[in-house]
């Protein structure tokens, strides 16, 4: 089925390329984080397509055409938009990216490993969309913001992605590097970014905090009644901590305050 | 002992038996004979309600079988198919003991159950193989197992479907010898379909002639002659007589 969709997208795409492509920059963003960056640097006029997960800013889904799911975007919709540039996040999008690249699209993957790489990516997106100035202003603001966030002292954290089966965000992820900046050391040191782990192992590692991104506190407690000592941190808005985008500084602040509150409660 | 009253049975597709009315006496061996596709197996299986009833009924010891429970019926009538292919390795001992389930459904067999089982195994000469799996036995031994199971059940009426179809002449003689013993010593009644008419002529007391799902006649052994058999099977048959009243039937083959 997917092959069929791909083939038809391919036919449409190659058919279109023979005609005259529309003038100007036509960007499709396949990542909520990138969509946020584009809006933050004021380049949204060049944005023609986003995914159904791009919920911020709220007007994005109203103004822009959705090309569907993050991992399985509709090749036909993308072909109809005739983008001159596709920006993707990479993680979990391998299939879509290779299909789009094979179809001859200009695909750029932005998969930041840490905050400084995110800054470089923001500058690069600014360059690609002709908003260099706004981009460097944004980066400067974010850097300033981060400097003002207090740090937790030498605490360890486990970042939960899915409660059952238990899946972690390892030290190879962007979220992990962000936690490290505010003083939370990730205990999940693995080759994979999102390894499934054993609950026994988690009990033994005795992390100070468990940062929940895939379940609520009650859900996690119900599924893992034997993990008792770690304090659960559940941000009110998951998007601001998992998306490599302009709001990450808010996310970092939120994690810090959650950790501080949890410490105080004790 | 057993009265058929306008008895009809059969599946929508498959063999059907129709309008059978006859009366069978206790302590006799009835041979159910007739050409292929006459409905012999269907008739036997319909007696134990393995084939759906269409109309009429069978009365055994004054009870209409349609109103008996499965276990009540099983205490009156036993049936052995011509072939069996057990899916699992039940031992001969376990297989024969299953016959007692029809009599006693308690979780464990009683001492009487165990004694009856052993008697049946000894009577059928299965002692040497009693720990072997039934599935691994020869056809003759399988038939003996079935008869032993029926012996352990101890019902008055026993239905056998071509029991000797796969047995050689010595085993056949041996097998029918045991059937005759059961008839004479325990006054059991048998309805048997015969693969070989000669066995029927030598073992049976009476003959049920079945043709196209209907009973043509019930005849005594000495009423059976060349004419009845020839017209039943639609081919010319001759009967030879030997000393001691034994008879054999032969087809007329032109050379």
């Amino acid at each position: 089925m997917r092959i069929l969709i791909f083939l038809s997208a391919f036919v449409i795409a190659s058919g279109c390329s023979r005609h005259k492509a529309p003038e100007g920059l036509r960007v499709v963003s396949l990542s909520p984080g990138i969509t946020e960056i584009i809006y933050a640097i004021g380049a949204q006029d060049a944005l023609y397509g986003i995914t159904s997960h791009c919920t911020w800013p709220p007007e994005a889904l109203r103004e822009k055409e959705s090309v569907g799911d993050f991992s399985f975007p509709s090749m036909e919709k993308i072909a109809l938009i005739q983008p001159s540039l596709i920006l993707a996040a990479g993680d979990g999008q391998g299939k879509a990216i290779s299909h789009l690249t094979n179809a001859g699209y200009n695909v750029r993957v932005f998969h930041p490993a840490d905050i400084s790489e995110l800054f470089r990516h923001i500058i690069e997106i600014g360059r690609l969309t002709g908003k260099e100035k706004k981009a460097s202003e944004l980066v400067a603001d974010m850097k300033k913001d981060i400097r003002s966030i207090p740090k937790v002292k030498n605490k360890s954290v486990f970042i939960e992605v899915c409660p059952q089966p238990l899946i972690a965000a390892s030290d190879k992820t962007f979220l992990s590097s962000v936690c490290e900046i505010i003083g939370l050391k990730n205990i999940a040191v693995f080759k994979d970014s999102y390894p499934g782990v054993n609950a026994e192992w988690l009990i033994r590692q005795k992390p100070d905090f468990i940062l929940l991104t895939g379940s609520s506190e009650e859900e996690f407690r119900a599924l893992h009644p034997y993990i008792k000592n770690a304090k659960l941190l559940r941000p009110s808005d998951i998007d601001i901590i998992v998306r490599p985008g302009p709001r990450i500084t808010r996310g970092m602040r939120e994690i810090y305050y959650l950790a501080e509150d949890a410490e105080k409660k004790q | 002992m057993m009265i058929f009253e306008n008895f009809s049975a059969g599946y929508d597709r498959g063999f059907v038996i129709r309008g059978i009315s006859c009366r069978l006496d206790a302590g006799k061996i009835y041979a159910l004979i007739g050409p292929n596709a006459a409905g012999k197996t269907t008739m036997l299986r319909s007696i134990i309600r393995d084939v759906p009833l269409r109309s009429g009924g069978i009365i055994i010891d004054g009870n209409d079988t349609a109103y008996l429970t499965s276990s009540e019926l099983a205490k009156k009538v036993s049936y052995a198919p011509s072939e069996m292919h057990p899916a699992f390795d039940y031992s001969v001992l376990e297989f024969v003991a299953m016959g007692r389930f029809a009599v006693n459904r308690a979780f464990w067999e009683t001492e009487e159950d165990i004694n009856r089982t052993h008697e049946a195994i000894i009577a059928m000469g299965l002692e040497s193989v009693r720990r072997r799996s039934v599935a691994q036995l020869s056809s003759g031994q399988k038939q003996s197992c079935l008869l032993a199971q029926i012996m352990a059940k101890d019902t008055d009426i026993i239905l056998l479907d071509e029991p000797a179809a796969h047995l050689d002449i010595a085993h056949r003689t041996d097998f029918f010898g045991k059937v005759l013993e059961m008839k004479n010593n325990a006054r059991k009644s048998f309805i048997i379909t015969f693969h070989d008419l000669n066995d029927a002529l030598n073992a049976a007391d009476e003959f049920i002639l079945l043709k196209e799902g209907e009973v043509a006649a019930v005849k005594k052994r000495d009423e059976i002659n060349e004419e009845t058999l020839s017209s039943l099977y639609g081919t010319e048959l001759s009967i030879c007589e030997f000393s001691g009243g034994r008879r054999a039937v032969l087809p007329l083959l032109g050379h």
């Binding site: - | 393995d50 049936y79 039940y90 029809a102």
Partner: protein, 310 residues
């Protein structure tokens, strides 16, 4: 002939082996052998309990399916019974019902009954060995697709349910575990109580009738009980294939085919097999986990072929 006394001996042996392996799966971990700290002890005991209960239940259901259908290849997984149960659970989560308790095993049991009914209907009246397996495979494919379709609407639980479809013993919600264990135990005990009927049914339709067993009624009862037991097992463990196939065949080597002996020994064998498979699933790539259904399938699929060729 074996009687009560032999039964007690065999039962004691089977129970002792089960308890030993339970002890092993509690004490044996990545760090070596020993009694672990409290939290880990509880975790491992819950997990071993799930494994033992699900393994025993699947094996008991396997014995029942095999004897009733007189088919040595029958198994809750191959018959589609497990997939039916998973479909029931996926349907519950589709409607947003996640409060685990009695509802899960009951729904799973009902769905698994309906699935077995459908599989047998499709296979036709003859109940031939291959027809049943083929129709089971077809229904399995259909239900797996239906489950994925259902959970596509629930992005949040998507991965959990996919993992559940591969077999997962990480369940810790006590209300769900206790409800499932009670239902599975009650169903298995009922099947055990019906052992002599199962023996009669194994002889086939015609012979079971001459043994005084109402074939239609008794096989229906046994199939329903086996499916309810499967549903309870699936609600704590997900789809775990081949335990219900392997355990009865291994147990037959020790006890023969008499269901009175075969059922309890199979249950113990099933519990042991699943606990050992889970030990492997937990520790082979520690601290990462392999779904336990993957381990049992790797053992079970060759076993299936071996039985098939026999």
């Amino acid at each position: 002939m074996r009687g009560k006394k032999d039964f007690m001996l065999i039962l004691a042996g089977a129970a002792a082996a089960g308890v030993f392996v339970f002890f092993l799966s509690v004490c044996l971990g990545h760090e070596g052998f020993g009694i672990p700290e409290d939290a880990i002890l509880r975790l491992r005991m819950t997990r071993a309990l799930c494994g033992a209960a699900a393994g025993a239940a699947l094996a008991a259901a396997g014995v029942a399916y095999q004897t009733v259908l007189a088919n040595p290849l029958a198994d809750p997984y191959l018959l589609g019974s497990s997939s039916g149960a998973v479909f029931g659970i996926a349907a519950l989560s589709f409607f947003g019902i996640s409060r685990a308790g009695v509802l899960f095993p009951v729904t799973a049991g009902i769905c698994s009954c309906l699935t077995v009914a459908a599989v047998l209907k499709i296979a036709g009246r003859s109940f031939s060995k291959k027809n049943i397996i083929l129709s089971g495979v077809a229904v399995n494919f259909f239900l797996s697709a239906a489950v994925i379709f259902l959970i596509s609407f629930r992005k949040k639980e998507f991965f959990s349910l996919i993992y559940f479809m591969m077999g997962d013993l990480g369940e810790t919600r006590m209300s769900l575990i206790s409800a499932s264990v009670i239902i599975a135990a009650a169903g298995s005990l009922f099947l055990f109580y019906k052992s002599r009927f199962l023996n009669a049914l194994a002889a086939g339709k015609t012979l079971s009738r001459q043994l005084g067993c109402d074939w239609k009624k008794e096989s229906l009862i046994a199939l329903i009980a086996a499916s309810v037991v499967t549903g309870a097992a699936v609600s704590v463990s997900g789809t775990i294939g081949f335990i219900g196939l392997m355990a009865p065949h291994i147990a037959r080597k020790f006890t023969g085919s008499d269901a009175r002996f075969l059922l309890p020994v199979s249950a113990s064998t099933g519990a042991i097999l699943l606990m050992l498979s889970d030990l492997a699933a937990k520790n082979l790539l520690f601290p990462q986990e392999i779904p336990v259904g993957v381990v049992t399938a790797m053992l079970g699929a060759p076993f299936f072929l071996w039985i098939y060729r026999k």
